[in-house]
Structure formats: structure tokens, C-alpha cells
Subunit: 363 residues, 4 copies
């Protein structure tokens, strides 16, 4: 291991002088040293470093999905997205470190920071936009803050990320290209709809003929069954789907949704295995950001109570609202609504199975 | 270490035969073994074991606060409440284990379990009630489920816990007994109000005389200042406080709130140190249950999508609503709204300081 | 979702009466209630529940690898092994809960438990044996305790697990069956050895011709290069390998080791992707048990200091020694010793690549 | 909240330009972009930021203990040390992020970094030295690396920290000043020794008179009792203690050890409560660094196998040896060796209890 590269020193390599001179306490500047301001700065700096890493991964994955995706690369994409989830766990756990600062200690330097605020983190905006959060889906305050709180150069970068195809867009296109929705004689959507219908009428027959149920019980169960039926009706009607998209209840295109369902239901087939993990890992990322937003809101609640944030936001209530609202891949999370038990799943034709397997095993 | 106690064997001591024979899979009973049902059972059983431990701690602490509380015991109370928080972290992290079960795997046995549901966990109800969640503060569905989903014996126990003084009640009474609110010549509430007023008018003067602010800026800052002032006005008006209690915005009695604020602001004084940690640890518990409820809701969303839960609840949206609604100690979390910087805090008179210190140091 | 299964109640399903009546405090039996004994029991019971779950997963995976392994099943095997790692993280984190019990609190009931000890956990022995820990590789005290501390029935079960093929054995056989070591004209071992030699002599040439190195530097670098060379020589000599096995330095058969290396180096090829994750997840499990043992030893050190454990072991030093010694899959962890950079890896012939890909993509 | 401080922007405050331009990949410099090098840099940079924060806390606490310690400050000291433990948990958990980089991915840029190594982290040396790790207690390789791997300026700083009083030194002095070891008529050491003797001879009598024990059993139990007795003999003999210090088995002065034991045994007394938490939190810190070293060693093992580290260390075996060897506060961890059950503890005289309480409660 002795290539002719010039020797490297740890502190040069990591640019420690530059890194460790970037903590300038405002309280020191004003001659009123507040011990905990160091923590405040360092916690936020580690967040920004992690955001940089998340962007590095996201952008590399988005690029992989630019055009045709080599099956080999899906493994790499999944590994990089999985890395993001491991970082997100740290982002969440780190809040505990910040919570060792008490509200009273925060007051020792809070006034000096106005109106700086996490809303001004360009990198976090880039993460949101690269994942695929759309301006119109942001909460009102956030839409507005987004415009006004960044400086010109930052706005430009945020907007560029907004206008470039996001991970959402690229994964959607990739799903739409799935060749297996209509594959030789196998038409997934028809088979699946039939299976759903058989399942639902079987359920109905069972309720009807069950002697141990009272009429009230039966009525209740029929009602539940009807609700399930209505969910599926909406699924099988592409116009209804378009309507739901217009109303903001769904986002994924009809074809991409079908592909995502196919992958989820037949994930044991070798060629669908990694695509399944891709979808799952994307849901992990969405779930972890949602958790992080919510935990962050709780921390803010605790730190400043009902006060307005340094950046002028209405504080913790706004933040916890973003947790629910700023999910990007909710359609993937909702897939389980439409899953049917393995025992009811239509079997795949032999030649389809062959095509979904490895060359070596099938030849 | 060889007392004449009969020798003990690990598996007898832990009743392993009893413990490890308590996993009976419904899917096995119906002859359709579903591998993941074991996980489902064991995860829920570990939850119930931890709930038992949490109750064990909560009840012992509630008992300590039954009457006069020996200062020595506050340390023990804090240690036991802190233990609850360590358990809660496990409750949250354990969700990751359950999330290794995929929605499709859950469908392999989900039908067998209807209508069993976490709503039927008596112990969790006891935890909520012992902490101090009141029936009227539960979300509607929960109020109802609470009546109907438990069996008779369970209802009785849940009701008994509801009617006994909760941790909230006892801590409130203990706070009200604080001797330091009016102590010799020191009247905390008056001094504190004065300090707040000085702070606010100082802020006003600063804005007025600041040449670098435009009129629009000034207006904006005055508006913010007025909002802060209004918050404090509501605090200093006991009638307003009663009104807020009636409307469900506050719960803690006026006197207890004052004591909690006193403790938070002067926590460095030795005799207030452990009371401060008590309040903080109670907020930790509330925050961690809130986090757990929210994470649980996300997990349910992912597992069953928009479907109705096995227990008939409207699923994840209901669960995430409980996260926000079922906080018990929000008044403690909100204390930071009313904190003022240390530099503005009224100094305590010497003889008060003496009384708040240790005997040995003061004598 | 309304099949004719009889309605199920949460507490019946989870056998809560049985579960929650299994905590009998010795200190209560002797009339000297020790508050923390409940924690001690419940923590150990949750451990045993998790051990049951780990065994459930391990046994199912071992069974899958009994004979020929369908490629589809590798995904399931990896998912189940991954679940074990998520459980192990909980096992480690739970130690923090136990650590909320102080040494003095432990002394309140410690005498009553003699000579019960974690050494008597049959399930933990079964986990070790199912993974593949061999009696002769146990530390001396453990070998002995293993015989004497279990009762007859337990010994029989532990021994049966010891004598059945372990996960180690089955994964080893599966690796040995890999068809790709010699595949058509591609002979992995030869190509790889050649690549190693080219890399090593390239390194040598670079050192020799580097004008900026002093003679001392060169000597040092040659020495390091020789060490690397010696490592590889031992790898390429099957007799040497047998010798290392005899001496207890390696355990995996020569052919299985080659296969594991092949999989690790060419893991991007679709058919090798899941096998690579299998190996990695097994290393995760080994690493997490090692971490757990070590953390457990620290906890014991803290709890009883230099005292002898209730079970008569020499305490924390013994326990931390098992961490290093009781690794089972060290050969997998050591694979990185023999990895060479991607840029030096021999390219696979086209027809081999085809065979390692999906049928659909290649046909 | 609108003081006349100039407005602050998030990215200026956090010096994001400086921070986020400090990641320069060697692989980019050499024109062979290695995707994972970014992760490698960022993980290490977050470590260095956290080390800075740990030093900030450690130095402030060491300063507090410089001379006489105001009781009020012990609360602050404990809070800051506790914060260090929360950071350490992140240091440990972060290893999982680094472990998402596979050995093969590391090889893509590993050669470029030689001989940079974590041994060259000045800040980590400062943390060790500020805590109180002594040069002579370092492992041999570490002693040496310590001299040679840092550059001149770094060496000077490390040495300065080594020569300044460490946290260990200051806490030791503070313990020695405890006024309660001989307090009025109460002589702790005598009372405690007597209690130990009573306990031991009680145990002996019980064994002797126990009819259900065989002679072999009795012999075994006497032997165990003798071992315990010998431990205590060594404790009560100050010359023996000095001897153990000389041999490197103990480090804390005889008087400080007595004080630490007093605090641990009577921690319920108000004035001893925070000192007890101080000791406990220091043990937490030592335990967490030990865990971190061990987990780090496992990660290195996995990443480079049996190879020599980039810094020329013999790799993971060396690193895991530091875990055991580089404990600083082992004497505190060992305190539990000498604890006796509460039921055997000598009761404190009334006037001592009074002095250990609060002024207000006692007056």
C-alpha cells in the first residue's frame, strides 16, 4: 500500500484549521460570554455537514436515474439512500444533545441571533427540493419564508433545484418504464383487479352465511367491506386517480402507481427485489424526515414555549404541521392500502417468472 | 455473600417456562403458519412488560408525593422518573424492529386478529391515567374506545386509576405548598412582574431610539413586543388564568404555575435543584410519549396505509392526533414562554439565599 | 377484512395474565421489598423474549440453507437476519435501562439470587450454538460452566443444538457449492492471484523508482509490502490454510473462503448481490453480539466492581474476554484483508457477466 | 425580544462558506473521483467538531474545580459532564454511518491518505489529557505514536494539557477536602470498617450453623468469604493502598477514595446528592469512551481486516486494547466492590444528618 502519493497529514486532510476556527460566538463579540452558545453553533454546523453529505448522495442517485437505469446500479442507489437513513437517525438523536441546553441558558444569547433561523438553511431547502417537495405543497408560511428569507444567490440555487427533475420525478419515470405491467400474455392490472374482486365477494359470502353473527354485526361488517371496496374502486378508475391528483391527494402517475404495486406484491422475484428495496428505502427517508421534523418541533416547543421563533415563525405548531404536510412520497407509504394477502395473489405465468429470474438459473 | 437463602436457578427465578410458553400464534391454530406472527406477539409482549415497569415506577413516585415530601425522596423520585425516560427510548427504538415486518407479511395473519387492538391495553390506559390524562381531554374516538373496548374488570381498574390522584395532581399540590413564593420580605411574583415590566419597557425604548430602523421595521418590532406583553399580561392576571383553564388551554393551578416558574428561574439554588430536575424529567416523559405516539402513527400508516385498524380506529391520522392532544404536562413545557434572561432576573435577598442553601455551608 | 374467525381480545391474544404474573420478587418473598428487583426481573425477561425471537429467525434461516437454496429465498434469509440485527441494537441499548439501577440498589436483593446467573440462560446457549460457536472455542470457564450450570434437560437441548449443523456450517456448504469459481473459461482463483501479483510488483517498482524516498523510507515500505505479500502467500497456499485452521486461526474451508471473496469482489453483479448482503448481515450479527458482550461486561464491572458474579464467574474480565474470543464469523470479517482495489480487479468475461445477470436483461 | 443588535443571517453566523468548503477529496485531486471519500471526510469532521465541544465542556468544568467549589456550581458541572455523555452516544452511533462504506469502497481512495491517521488528532489527545490519561498509562505503541505523529506545535499543546492539572487531579483534590470524613463525633472510616466486620462475621456464623450445607459447600462458601475479606483488608490498610498505586492497580489517593465511598453510600443526604451524580457522570464518560474505543476497533477490523492501519498501527487489536487500558476513572468504577447493603450501613448521627441537609428544612 505504498503508492507514490505525497504523505498526508490528518489535520491538513480534514482542513482542521479552517473547520475549527469557524465557531465565533456572538456573546463573545458583545463581551458577554454565554457558555452554551458554542453548543448551539456546533450542533448546527454538524447538521449542515450532514446535509452536505445527504445532498452528495441524493444528487448521485438522481443522476443514476437520469435515463435508462442499469440493473447493477440499483444496488448502489439503494446503498446510498440507505446511508441517508443512517444519517437521518443521527440527525434525530442529535436533538438530545441540543436539549441539554435549557431554555434559560438559551436566553443568555438568543437576542443576539435575531433574525437568523433554520429557515435560512439553503442546504435543507436543496435537500427538500432534490427529493421533490414542490413549492405549492409547502405550508403557507414556508412558501413565503422560502422566497424572502434566502438571499439572492441562495434563492437562485434553491429555484434551480426546484426546477430540475427531482428524485421523485426520476423514480416516477423509471417506474413508468417497467416492462412487466403488460408482459407477453400477463396483464398485471387485470389479474390483480380480478383477484381483488374475488377476495371482496368471498368476504361478502362469508359474512352472509355466518350463523354466529347478529344482524347488527353483519351490517357493521358490510359497511367496512363497502369502504374497502370504495378504496379499490378509486384505484381501478384512472379518471378518479387524475381527480385525486388534481385535489392533491395523490401525486404519482397512474402507471407508476401500478408499477410500484406490482413490485411490492411480487418482490420475491429476483429482478424485483432491489426495486422493492429502493421503494422501501425511499419511504424510510420520508418517514425519518417526518420524525425529525416532529421531534424538532417538540424541542422548539420546549425551548421557547409559545414564543415566536428567532426567524419570526409561529414556532412549534408551524413546525409540527410541516411534519405531516411535507411528506413527499406519501403515495409509496399508502401502497399498503391496496395490498392483498399472498394467498389471494394471482400466480405469475411460468414464462414471466423465468424472465424475472437470473439468467444462470433459468437458462 | 453467602446468606442462608435457598439456591436459586435462573430459569425458575425468571419463570421462563411460564414466560416462554405465552406465544401462541393464531396462524398456527388455523394451520397456516405465518412466520412473522411470532415477532408481532413478542414485540407487543415486551411493550407490556415495559408498561408494567413504568407503572411500578409511576405508582411508587405518586405515593411518595402523597403527603409531605421529604427532600431526600425527591432524588429517588427523579431517579425513578428518569428510568421511565430510558425505558421510553427503548419503546421508541423498538418500533424499528416491528418495522422489519412488511405490510404483505402482516397480511398473512392480520385477519385472524380482528378486533384485537392496542386500544385494549389496560396497562397503557393505567399509565395514561396515573400520569394524569383526563377522560375529557381524550380525543373523541379514544373517549369512546376507552369505554367500550376494555372488558368489565379492566374498565373498573382503568376507572379507579382515573379517580385516584394522578402524578399531575400530586405534583401540583406539592408545588402549591412551596414555602418560597412569599418568603420573609421576598415576594416572588411581585419582583418577577416588576422585572418583566422593566425588561419590556427597556425593549420599547431601544426600538424607539434606534436610528437604523425604518418605520416599518419599528412597527413590526413593536407588534412583536406587544404580543410578548400580552402573553405576560395573561400570566399576571389570575382571572385570565382561570379563564384559560376553563377553555382547556391551561391546567395547572395559578399557584402551582408560579412555583414551577420560581423553581425554573432559580434552579441554581441548592434546595431548588432537585425540584427543577423533577419538573424537567416530567417534561421529558411527556415529550417521549408524544414522540412515541407520533412514531407509532407513522409505523401504522406504513403498515396498513389508509385502511382502518384491526380495532376499528380510523388508523394513523387518529393516532398522530393523540400525539398532540394527549400531552399532560404541557404547562410545564410552556414555562419557557415566560422565562426572562438571567441578566434581568431579580436578585434574591441574602437571607432567602441562605434558606435555599445547605445547612453546613450556611451555619 | 371480515373473515369468520372468532373475535380476538388483545389481552387473551398476548396471554397477558400469564405474562404479567411472571414477576415474583425474591425480596417480597423474604418480606424485604426491594423496589429495583422488579426492573432486574423485567429487563431479563425482555432479554429472554428477544432471544426466543432471535432463535425463531435463526432456525428458520438455517432450515432454508439445509439443502439447495432457491435464489428467491436468499432475500427472505437476509431480511430475517437483518431483523436479528435490529433486535441486537435493542439488546445493547437496553443495558442503559438496567444501568439506572445503582450498585447500592442491587445490593438490596443480590444475596437472594445466588447462584442464579446469566450463564444459566439456555436460550442464549442455543443462539450461540445455532450460529455455530463450538465448545472447543469457548473460554475455559465458559466450557465448564456450560456443562455444569444447566440442568439435565437444558444440557440435552444445548447439546442437540451443538450437534446439529449450525448456520456457520450451512452457509459454508452453500458457499462451497457456488458454481462461479470455475465457470466456463473463467477461473476466479487464478485471475485473482495474477491480479494480486501484478498489484504487488507494481507497488515494488514504484517504491524502487521513487526519487523522493530516502533509503530508510524505502526499506520501511518494502517491509510493509513484504508483510502484505506474506498475507497473500498464506491465502494462495491451501496447505497453509489447512494449517491455520488446525491452529484455530481460520475456520472456513478453503473453497468457501474463495467463494466468499468472489462474492465480495463482484457484488455488483445481480446474482451476487443478495449473497453479498447475506455475508455482510452475518458479519453485522457477529459484530453486534461482540459489542453486546463488551457493553455487558462494562455494565457488570460497574455494578459489582471486582467482586465475583452471582454465578461464581470472575466477573467482568471474563465477560469482556468472551467478546473477543466468541466471534464465530471472524473469517468473514477478515475478508477485507484480501480485497484489492476495483481498479486492479480482473474484468469478468462477457459470458460470465451474462450468466450473473437477469434473464430478462440478457435474453 | 428586539434588542438593537445588528441582524444576523444564518449562513454568516454559522460561517457556512468556510465550513462547507473544507471538504477536499484527494481522489478528485488525482482525477479519480471516489464517491465515498466525501463521507469519510465529513464523518471525521463531525468527530472533530464534537471533540471541540467536549473540550469546551471539560475545560470549563476543570476550571470550576480549580479551587474551592461552590455547591451551586456542582449542578452546573454535572450538567456539562452529562452533556458530554450525550455527545459520546452520538460518537458511538455515528460509527454506523461510517460502516455504510464497504471495504471495497474504502480501497478506492485509501492509498491517497497514507500516512494520515486518527492518531494525529490533536483534539482527541487533548480530551484524553484533560480527563487525566497519563503518558505512562498509555499502551506502548500509543506512547510512541503520541510523540512522533503530532507535529511540533501540536506536541506542545498536547504536552501542556498533560502537565496541567486534569479533571482527575481536580476531582481528587476536591474529594480530599470533603469535611464529612471526620465530622464532629462521626468517624466514617471507623464506623464503616466496623460495619464491614460485623457483616463478614455474620456471614461466617450463618455458614457454620447452616445444617443444609455439605462440608464441601461450606468450604466453598468460606473460600468466597475469605476472598471478600481480603479485598476489604486491602482497603483498610493505607500501606497496601500505596502499594497498589505503585503497581498501577489504583490511582486515587487514600483519602479521596474514602470520600468517594462516603458519598456513594450516603448519597440520599441532600448535600451529597450532586457529588454522587458527579462521580456517576464521570464514570459514564469513562464507560462511554471505553465503548467507543471498542466499537471503533470492531469497525476498523471490518474495514481493513488484519491489515496495518494507514497510520502504521497494528490495527484493530491495538485499538481494542486501548479500550481496556485507557480507562481513567477505574477507581470510581471499582467502588461497587466495597459497597455494603443499606441494611448493614452504620446510621449517621442526628447532627451529622442535620449538617448534610438544607438550611431551611433544618433550622
Amino acid at each position: 500500500m505504498s503508492k507514490p502519493y505525497p504523505p498526508v497529514h490528518y489535520s491538513d486532510y480534514l482542513k482542521l484549521e479552517q473547520l475549527l476556527s469557524a465557531q465565533k460566538l456572538k456573546s463573545d463579540e458583545y463581551g458577554k460570554h454565554a457558555h452554551d452558545e458554542m453548543l448551539f453553533i456546533i450542533v448546527h454546523q454538524t447538521y449542515e455537514l450532514w446535509f452536505k453529505q445527504i445532498l452528495h448522495e441524493l444528487q448521485s442517485v438522481a443522476k443514476m436515474f437520469e435515463n435508462y437505469v442499469d440493473e447493477k446500479n440499483i444496488g448502489t442507489a439503494v446503498a446510498r439512500l440507505h446511508r441517508i437513513t443512517e444519517i437521518q437517525k443521527i440527525l434525530i438523536d442529535q436533538l438530545r444533545v441540543l436539549e441539554t441546553m435549557t431554555p434559560l441558558d438559551f436566553l443568555d444569547f438568543r437576542d443576539y441571533l435575531v433574525p437568523a433561523s433554520g429557515f435560512q438553511s439553503l442546504q435543507f431547502r436543496l435537500v427538500e427540493n432534490t427529493l421533490g417537495l414542490k413549492r405549492e405543497n409547502r405550508l403557507d408560511f414556508d412558501k413565503q419564508a422560502y422566497h424572502t428569507r434566502l438571499d439572492k444567490g441562495e434563492q437562485k440555487k434553491a429555484q434551480a433545484a426546484e426546477e430540475s427533475p427531482s428524485l421523485f420525478d426520476r423514480v416516477e419515470k423509471w417506474l413508468e418504464r417497467t416492462p412487466f405491467l403488460e408482459f407477453e400474455k400477463f396483464k398485471f392490472w387485470d389479474s390483480y383487479r380480478e383477484a381483488v374482486n374475488i377476495m371482496l365477494s368471498g368476504d361478502r359470502a362469508i359474512i352472509t352465511s355466518n350463523p354466529s353473527l347478529t344482524d347488527t354485526d353483519k351490517e357493521k361488517q358490510f359497511k367496512q367491506l363497502d369502504a374497502t371496496g370504495a378504496d379499490f374502486d378509486a384505484l381501478f378508475d384512472s379518471k378518479k386517480h387524475e381527480q385525486l391528483i388534481k385535489e392533491g391527494h395523490r401525486r404519482l402517475s397512474y402507471k407508476a402507481l401500478q408499477a410500484a404495486l406490482l413490485i411490492s406484491l411480487y418482490r420475491e422475484e429476483p429482478i424485483l427485489h432491489m426495486p422493492y428495496r429502493l421503494i422501501t428505502t425511499i419511504v424510510d427517508i420520508d418517514e425519518l424526515f417526518t420524525s425529525w421534523r416532529y421531534r424538532h418541533a417538540l424541542m422548539v416547543h420546549r425551548m421557547i414555549g409559545m414564543k415566536i421563533g428567532t426567524g419570526g415563525s409561529s414556532g412549534h405548531q408551524y413546525l409540527s404541521a410541516t411534519a405531516a404536510q411535507h411528506k413527499i412520497f406519501a403515495d409509496f407509504m399508502n401502497l399498503s392500502t391496496f395490498m392483498i394477502p399472498r394467498s389471494e395473489l394471482p400466480a405469475l405465468p411460468k414464462d414471466v417468472v423465468k424472465n424475472l429470474g437470473f439468467y444462470y438459473s433459468q437458462k
